[in-house]
Point group: C3
Chain length 131, copies 3
């Protein structure tokens, strides 16, 4: 189980991203914003920003998760990764309703990512200097 | 050959992304849209949307491919990955000409990705419960 | 040390991305551009374009680095990766001041990426045809 935890986090990250892409496509139709436009209705713009923010965040998170797992923290990196996923879902759902409420989810996901980063750095430094 | 198929798909994905970035830079010059503007001419906006869509799709696809390969589906995951690449190229070329014609390529790439995802999930579940 | 060089490059890439995300958030507050808007002040738009360009570039770079490392070029791929990171930092800092000055850093990072790509392709072709 433990050694598969990072893969479960990767799968949840995939589903999270797919969800935000789906929400943007849905908002494009619902609010009649025709491609390639990316503005025209606040509801669409929110969905699009959620998708982009999730993408940006994932592009930072997955390499960090790789680093932590590569250097020996599958369990703790995986658990902190679950916190990141939970925070990102919270962020996305809250932002879609009201951009002003995106704070708490963002903070939880940032904390989860921060822990994964610290684990990765600790593991890398340990490997470099202790071997 | 089989064990290198996912790496070939990764290489094609890199070239696909590079192609869409190049097309956006080309459109920026051709239509005189000066950075950091991201609007001003439909031709540029199409190129930019194609690039962003390709990026979003790649950020979902590559982790999914990793999952399928990691859990034993190098061959079938690689073949479905080739379908994904083919669909994304079709999508990009069609969208650059006319946003309304982006459907078929999108559907082909989605089908390819869907197969890779199912393989990854099957492999992960098998590893978790059968071992 | 050599075998950890790619991981160091990954860590620097994570920090680079985090830096550009931070700069965008900072510019959003400084210039009073409220989410989900992505325009309204050239200073914010520059920061946002730098972040997006860094993201696009990273999404191409990391798979390329993986390819080079996977096929036997940890040292040279890692060194060229450091050149890529250096060029991207230069690009980001220059672009934030003046979009017209983003050229040199872009060229340096492109050269670094190009070398990593050639290494990856050479390694893959070698593995396919020599075994």
């Amino acid at each position: 189980m433990t050694q598969h935890l990072p893969a479960i986090v990767v799968l949840l990250t995939i589903l999270l991203q797919f969800g935000t892409v789906w929400a943007t496509g849905h908002a494009r139709e619902k609010y009649g914003v025709k491609a390639p436009a990316i503005s025209g209705h606040p509801g669409f713009e929110r969905a699009w920003r959620v998708q982009m923010n999730t993408l940006e965040s994932t592009a930072i998170f997955l390499p960090t998760l790789w680093l932590a797992v590569q250097y020996g923290f599958s369990l703790w990196g995986g658990l902190a990764g679950l916190v990141w996923v939970f925070g990102r879902v919270w962020y996305a759902v809250a932002y879609l309703k009201d951009p002003a409420k995106r704070g708490p989810g963002y903070m939880v996901s940032s904390a989860g990512w921060g822990v994964v980063l610290v684990l990765g750095v600790v593991g890398l430094v340990r490997a470099l200097f202790i071997g």
